[in-house]
């Protein structure tokens, strides 16, 4: 039956892994911020910025790997701005995040227009080529789906392990998790809560920006306005779905991407009787349902959304 065939094809799994990549970066980034007690709603805009600057860097003659670092740097800068408001000044994390999203999105669009005033059809670059991992890519099915991907995809999978290790096995990770649970206790230990939170938001934002960059320098070869299209918000939902654990975040991103890949294939098969807009709604509806299922027992980091003010209780 051709419906079953869809799931068994290599193309399906390859597409799933590819679509999961920006979500893995974004979800890890948001997870790091929230583990430190800061909700970063700047994610949508920071991903846009990452997508724009990485693409622009390559378009202006930079190479692909340095573009990833440029994106990460810009992500960090917006993360720093976010933490100036939300950490040091203790302002509302919701409003700060929305403000950062609006600011980074509009600055990206403005810069794009200023640097390329005459671009009517989006100009193109040569994106990352697929890299077949030696030996592993020779395994049937799995090799083609998981080990013949963009190099950035391998980085994303690697980062799940790295973030997991740092969060649970190192003193830095302990400090990050503690400022998200009980900042007062961290302060007593002589660790600067502001610095830990700022660092976490900056690193998290760098991840988000790289997730955005993946779209323009790996999946597509051009920058379009509105290309993030709610992926950032979906990452925020995925963090809750993953109960703030990197491993589950990977699982959530993969599930979500698989769902998205199915959706596209079913849509192609049945577009005659169900309008395509309803398929496009599915990722958002799916995220909402995932939230409903997971929220009942969601164990939020205790100090999430709570600003820390030194010397006050």
């Amino acid at each position: 039956m051709d419906f079953l065939d869809m799931f068994l094809t290599i193309g399906f799994w390859g597409a799933t892994v590819r679509m999961a990549t920006p979500l893995i970066f974004g979800t890890l980034g948001e997870l790091i911020c929230e583990r430190a007690g800061v909700l970063n709603l700047g994610i949508e805009g920071i991903m846009t910025t990452g997508a724009m600057v990485a693409w622009m860097w390559v378009y202006q003659g930079g190479d692909l790997w340095s573009a990833v670092f440029v994106a990460a740097f810009f992500g960090m800068m917006f993360g720093y701005l976010h933490s100036m408001f939300s950490v040091y000044m203790g302002l509302s994390q919701h409003v700060t995040g929305i403000g950062i999203t609006l600011l980074s999105t509009s600055l990206s669009y403005y810069s794009f227009r200023m640097l390329l005033p005459d671009a009517t059809t989006p100009p193109k670059i040569i994106p990352f080529d697929e890299y077949a991992v030696p030996f592993l890519s020779d395994i049937p099915v799995i090799g083609d789906a998981f080990f013949t991907q963009s190099p950035l995809t391998y980085v994303a999978f690697l980062m799940v392990g790295v973030v997991s290790y740092i969060l649970y096995r190192t003193p830095v990770g302990l400090a990050v998790r503690m400022v998200g649970e009980n900042p007062m206790a961290v302060e007593v230990q002589g660790i600067d809560v502001y610095r830990v939170r700022t660092g976490a938001v900056m690193v998290g934002s760098a991840f988000m920006a790289v997730g955005g960059a993946f779209l323009t320098i790996s999946v597509f070869d051009a920058f379009y306005f509105d290309m993030i299209n709610g992926r950032g918000w979906i990452c925020v939902a995925l963090v809750i779905f993953a109960s703030w654990r990197p491993g589950k975040a990977l699982l959530g991103a993969m599930l979500f991407a698989a769902f998205d890949a199915i959706q596209i294939r079913v849509q192609q098969a049945s577009s005659s009787f169900i309008p395509y807009q309803f398929y496009l709604m599915m990722p958002y509806v799916f995220s909402i349902f995932a939230l409903i299922i997971m929220s009942r027992k969601a164990a939020y980091p205790k100090a999430l959304l709570v600003p820390f003010r030194r010397g006050q209780r």
Binding site: L41, G90, V95, L102, Y109, P117, G230, I240, Q277, S287
Partner: protein, 349 residues
């Protein structure tokens, strides 16, 4: 660095803080304008002329301010109760869809009844749309920020489907737009030869009503109490969930009315671009106004002026009109900071 509460905030500081913050933003954004190679002073003069320089410009700014007042009020009311309604955009389109459904021939009443009827059905549609994430929040502990944000995309796709599918006006030469609103439902024109329509009057009345509700009534007190300290509110016997649901109905309804003014006033039919992000910009308007319903009017006028001014400046000076979005976003952040600094003192140690 440490923050301490100020014991007393002088009046000049309260009033001056937003003005100072906005001026600071305009100076910062001057850098972006210079980067575009345009003369700074002339650009800002062109921006001001485009916003308030003629009768026509003022009318256009008022047209743009109308939906912003309503989405700004929606955010201001919800944020007071710490209900983080970021779904203004979706609620706006929901109101527009309701107005199109009922206003294109299904119901035909004389104008004095038809127009309030359209606002009513629009407000109900938007209110109920926000009620869904709010019920999920109060009953199942689902974070409303994410759900309201995601619903924006769902509603926009629904509108997209309707306008490319069953609701497409066959008379519109293939453009995806709805059938025109019937004559009795069109908001009356206020100044001949401009697009200024009665939606402005509605928005102004709504601001005053919301101000009265928020400052003079039990409902307003309950909403503010829930936002300030929901534990304390619970102990003093305020029904928390009921208050939050009531806030949601009001907030969603206000945002939806912005959709009604656009469909029944500015455009006179539904398109997919009736809102260039009014729902999101409403958040900036509300923050600029310090969540004060009367301040929302001033903030909406300012933001509308920036957008219209930037449009005409971009034509004259070759500066991308995305500068308006930059100014709005930066003002949102800076005003929030400035307002906090009127309440807190920074001590460096």
């Amino acid at each position: 660095m440490q923050l301490e509460p100020r014991l007393h905030t002088p009046l000049w500081m309260t009033l001056g803080a937003p003005v100072f913050a906005v001026l600071f933003v305009l100076i910062l954004c001057g850098g972006l304008i210079s980067w575009a190679g345009a003369p700074l002073l002339d650009s800002y003069i062109a921006l001001f002329r485009g916003a308030f320089g003629s009768k026509f410009a003022i009318a256009e700014t008022l047209v743009r301010a109308t939906p912003l007042i309503l989405t700004g009020l929606a955010a201001a009311v919800a944020f007071r109760a710490k209900l983080w309604n970021i779904g203004g955009e979706g609620q706006l389109y929901m109101g527009a869809l309701a107005a199109t459904y009922f206003g294109t021939g299904l119901v035909n009443l004389p104008a004095p009844l038809m127009i309030p009827f359209l606002f009513l059905v629009g407000a109900l549609a938007g209110g109920f749309l926000l009620l869904v994430p709010t019920l999920l929040k109060t009953r199942l502990n689902v974070d409303e920020v994410v759900t309201t944000l995601l619903l924006n995309f769902v509603v926009l796709l629904l509108a997209n489907y309707l306008l490319f599918g069953p609701w497409k006006d066959p008379m519109a030469m293939g453009w995806p737009q709805g059938a025109p609103i019937i004559d009795n439902g069109i908001l009356p024109n206020l100044i001949a030869k401009t697009r200024l329509h009665g939606g402005l009057i509605f928005a102004l009345i709504a601001s005053v009503c919301i101000w009265v509700v928020m400052t003079k009534t039990k409902w307003g007190l309950e909403i503010r109490a829930v936002g300030l300290n929901s534990e304390a509110a619970r102990f003093s016997g305020i029904p928390i969930n009921k208050t939050i649901l009531r806030t949601a109905l009001i907030s969603g309804g206000l945002a939806a009315c912005a959709g009604v003014t656009e469909v029944a006033g500015t455009k006179e039919y539904l398109t997919l671009d009736i809102s260039p992000g009014f729902g999101y910009t409403g958040i900036a308007v509300a923050m600029l106004a310090g969540l004060n319903p009367l301040g929302v009017i001033v903030a909406a006028l300012f933001i509308a002026g920036i957008y219209n001014g930037a449009d005409s400046m971009s034509r004259a000076m070759d500066v991308s009109n995305y500068i308006a979005d930059v100014i709005t976003a930066a003002s949102l952040l800076m005003v929030m900071l400035a307002v906090m600094l009127t309440r807190m003192r920074v001590r460096f140690k």
